[in-house]
Each structure stands twice: as C-alpha cells, then as structure tokens.
C-alpha cells in the first residue's frame, strides 16, 4: 500500500495538472455533457484505487488508459453510445496524443487567471471571496464586516470556491447552484 501523503502528493503533481486535458478528453468522447463531472470523478476514483497499490511510472498514459477503459465500459453498459463511437475510442491513437496537457502557467499568469475567474463571479460572491483570499478574513470576520449572516457568507464562499476552482482547472468558472439543494450540512462549531 502506498502511504496516503505520497499518494496525495502524486495526485497534486502528476494527475491534477492534467485535469483540463482529461475533461476535454471526456467531453470529446461522450455525448452527454451532464455526465462529464461524474465520469471524471469515477475515473479519478479508479486511478486512486490502482495507485494506492502501486504508483504508475508514468501518469499521463495511465490516466489515458484508465479514462478510455472507463468510457468504453460505461458506453457498453448504458448502451447509449453507438458501436461506432466505441470503435472511435479504440482507434484514438497513441496515449500521448490523446491527452495533451496544458502548458504550466507562471505565477503571474495564474494570478491573472484567478482575477479573470473572480470577474466571472456574481458581485456578492466575488466580494466574499476577495475578503477571504486577499484580506485574509475568516467567515465570521467577513460576516461582521458586511453585516450579513454567517450562513450566507459560507454559502457564497462555497459557490465561489467551486466556480473558481473550476476556472483555475480550465472550466468555465460558472456557479452551479443545482447541487446546493442536495448539500450535506456540516455542523459548525462556534
């Protein structure tokens, strides 16, 4: 078994930088846009399971093979994709062509990207995130500063964090409120 800290580090340095490329790959090869986040999550879970036994020597081909096999399995099981589509997947070619990582951003480019992500947030959400990340205020301090309830601040932060993380990893940076309905609330200690 691989130690959890090593596994986590491997995900941070080898796998997550390929997140945008993986998402593109899924999107290109799967018809239903609504399934993308679930498929990505399941692919990561498969990778996590194998990597916790032994770390693959090369992350990129391993990610590609896992993603490809998962899509083929899902397509067969769901019978929602035509046989031709599966054949396409099989003939996609060499692993290094299938998942093309984005160039690593410099610190300055990441800063600009984060700012662009902020600009895409609704104004209230943007302000709450700015107070957190720029001024370093806690949820309670933000709540006091703005005269708004802690729960509201927390919700805004959760939405803002998800949208910004999505944007930093190459997504559209849009807030997805639908999932909020099924949220699990975590008990807050005051």
């Amino acid at each position: 078994m691989i130690d959890e800290a090593i596994l986590k580090n491997w995900f941070f340095t080898e796998i997550f930088p390929l997140d945008a490329a993986l998402t593109r790959f899924i999107r290109r090869n799967w018809r239903n846009e609504a399934d993308v986040a679930d498929l990505r999550q399941d692919i990561y879970a498969r990778i996590y399971a194998s990597a916790s036994e032994r770390l693959p020597l090369q992350a990129k081909p391993f990610l590609y093979i896992t993603a490809r096999n998962h899509l083929i399995n899902c397509a067969k099981r769901a019978k929602i994709v035509s046989f031709e589509h599966v054949a396409d997947l099989d003939s996609l070619g060499f692993p290094h062509d299938a998942i093309t990582p984005d160039r690593q951003l410099t610190a300055r480019e990441e800063l600009y990207r984060a700012q662009e992500g902020l600009n895409r947030l609704p104004p209230r959400c943007r302000e709450v995130v700015m107070l957190r990340k720029i001024e370093g205020l806690s949820t309670r301090e933000t709540s006091e500063r703005l005269g708004v309830g802690i729960d509201t601040i927390e919700q805004q932060l959760v939405h803002g964090m998800r949208a910004l993380v999505d944007f930093m990893l190459g997504g559209s940076g849009k807030i997805r409120r639908k999932a909020a309905k099924s949220r699990v609330s975590i008990k807050r200690k005051l």
């Binding site: 999505d166 099924s182 008990k187």
Partner: protein, 317 residues
C-alpha cells in the same frame, strides 16, 4: 447515488471550515470519516484543495503596486469597500512587472555555532535571525521562497510577496507564511512555532490526510510525533523570543527544563543529578551565555550544591 457535483459542494464546505479558527480535533475526526467513507469523497476534496491553492495567487493583490483586473463590487453590499490597497495606480504596473522578473535564484546554507546568533538577509528582503546551534537552507527563486530548518531555531521577518509563497519545512511540518513575523524551533521531530504578527499555517505532513492549522499572533504551536498542541499567550510568546536579545526568560520553569535551555547555548553543560533539585521552579531573565551567573544564583539564591568538573556542572540539593 451522490453526484460528483454534490460531493464537490461538500468538499468545498469542509475545506472552508478547516481554514477557520475554531477547527477542532473533533472536526478533524469528522472530516476524516467523510474522506474514508468513499474514495470519491477524498478525490473531490483533494481536487478542490489543489484548485483553491491556485486561487491563493490573489493574495498578490495585497501589494499596492500589483495591477488588479478585478472589477470592484463594493456597491453590492451597500458598504464601503477595500481601502487604499486596492486603488491601483497605472504607473506602478511597470514597476511590479520588473520586480517579478528580478526573482533571482539564490540558495544558501546558514549555520551558527553553540552560543552564537546571526542575522541573514534574503534576496527578497526577508530577514532571518538564527539562534544558537542552528542550521538552515534557504532558496529564493522567481516562484517561491523556501527554507529548510534542519536543526535549531530561527526568527523570520518575512517580506510581503504573495506571488512567492514563503514556506518553512521543519521535519514533517510545513509552515506556510501568510505575511508575518514568527519563529520556528526544531529539535528532531519536535517543532515549535511562535507567531508574533500575522498568520501562519502549519501543515502536518505526517498525518493522512495532512492536518492544517492556522495560528495567529500570540499563538504557540508545539508538535511532536502525532500531537499538535496550540496555546495562546502573547506574554509567553514574547518570552519565547527573548533569545533575540541574547536572553532566556523563564516563567516558573522547572530547573531541569531551564538547564536544558542553557545547555543549548553553552558548551558547559548543566546536569541536574538530584530529583529533589530537578523540580525547583525558576523565574526571570538570564543572559543565555552567562551560565556562571545562573549557577551562582542556584547556589546562593536556592541553596543548591554545585560541582564543576571539566565542561560538566552537576547540580544537587
């Protein structure tokens, strides 16, 4: 079945909660249970953490010279907004870019002998004060500032530069600076962090998933093995840093602990051989390298017996 998006939502809520001041061991256990419940939970949490760290770049906007591209949103809450730090002068933009490109690579090892202290400036303007018998390496480059504290104790007065995170590695603990003055002391796997100003994040890399704690002014965090303990006392924090003036300050400390402190600064070693003497409590400030004066106090003030032989001073009742 839970969808990836609702899992992501829960992961985000945990991550935010963990950054808050009131985070407790009980909260940690709850998070642990959630992470263990399903590998997809863990992955969602890690992925969120990975992305959120990238958003940390925004801290660069604390600097007045960094050009911001963010639209102001102050009117939406009907309050006054962010203060002068966010007012951007276009003329400063050029300066900021030049500073960025000056990130020269620099890596050095610094050491001090027993009883010595020294102050070293880093290329980014950070000042490090090394206490007795200390060894550390420091690297400053265009993207990051990193210090490895191999042994001993050091005080950091970190220059603001949020585009280059400042991280101190001390064994299995990582101390990430959120703009601040603080000290770190390392003896083997025991790591102590004292914060004088600002905030510091302590990551315990030995725990899985690693634990994080944000400590602020007046907090003293001590970690050893699996234990991470935080106490708050501004007075005590000041005492802990009296070495910067060459002094040791004891606040009702037992003689055994006080002797151990002196022994860090002197070749002449104090050994408490009598358990009845070991429990004597000592208070006050002492010159760290003047062990003779301390021994005189023990003999005259506390009536203890002192025998000196070579570099060893034995203390008994």
């Amino acid at each position: 079945m839970k969808s990836a998006l609702s899992r992501e939502h829960t992961a985000a809520a945990w991550l935010l909660r963990r950054e808050e001041d009131g985070w407790s061991a009980g909260d940690g256990a709850q998070l642990e249970a959630w992470l263990d419940a399903d590998p997809r939970n863990r992955i969602a949490f890690y992925r969120m953490q990975f992305g959120w760290q990238k958003v940390d770049r925004l801290a660069a906007l604390r600097e007045p010279g960094v050009p911001t591209r963010v639209h102001s949103s102050r009117r939406w809450w009907g309050r006054r907004g962010f203060g002068p730090g966010f007012a951007i002068a276009a003329s400063l933009a050029l300066g900021a870019i030049i500073v960025w490109q000056l990130g020269l690579l620099e890596r050095h090892t610094y050491t001090t002998a027993v009883g010595a202290r020294s102050e070293v400036p880093l290329a980014d303007g950070t000042k490090i004060e090394l206490n007795t018998d200390t060894r550390l390496r420091a690297e400053v480059n265009a993207n990051s500032r990193t210090v490895w504290l191999e042994n001993g104790e050091a005080y950091f007065d970190v220059a603001h530069d949020a585009t280059r995170p400042f991280v101190v590695h001390g064994g299995t603990r990582d101390i990430t600076v959120l703009g601040t003055k603080f000290s770190v002391r390392r003896e083997g796997d025991r790591v102590e962090v004292v914060v004088v100003e600002g905030r510091v994040r302590v990551d315990d890399l030995s725990a899985s998933p690693d634990r994080t704690m944000v400590i602020t002014r007046g907090d003293i965090a001590v970690s050893q093995g699996v234990v991470l303990k935080v106490t708050h006392s501004e007075e005590h924090a000041v005492d802990e840093l009296s070495w910067r003036r060459g002094m040791l300050t004891f606040n009702e400390m037992t003689l055994v602990d006080a002797a151990a402190e002196f022994n860090r600064y002197n070749h002449k070693q104090l050994v408490v051989v009598d358990p009845r003497a070991a429990g004597v409590h000592i208070g006050g400030s002492f010159d760290a390298t003047n062990v003779e004066a301390f021994v005189r106090l023990l003999r005259q003030g506390f009536g203890l017996t002192v025998e000196e032989e070579g570099n060893v001073i034995r203390i008994s009742r």
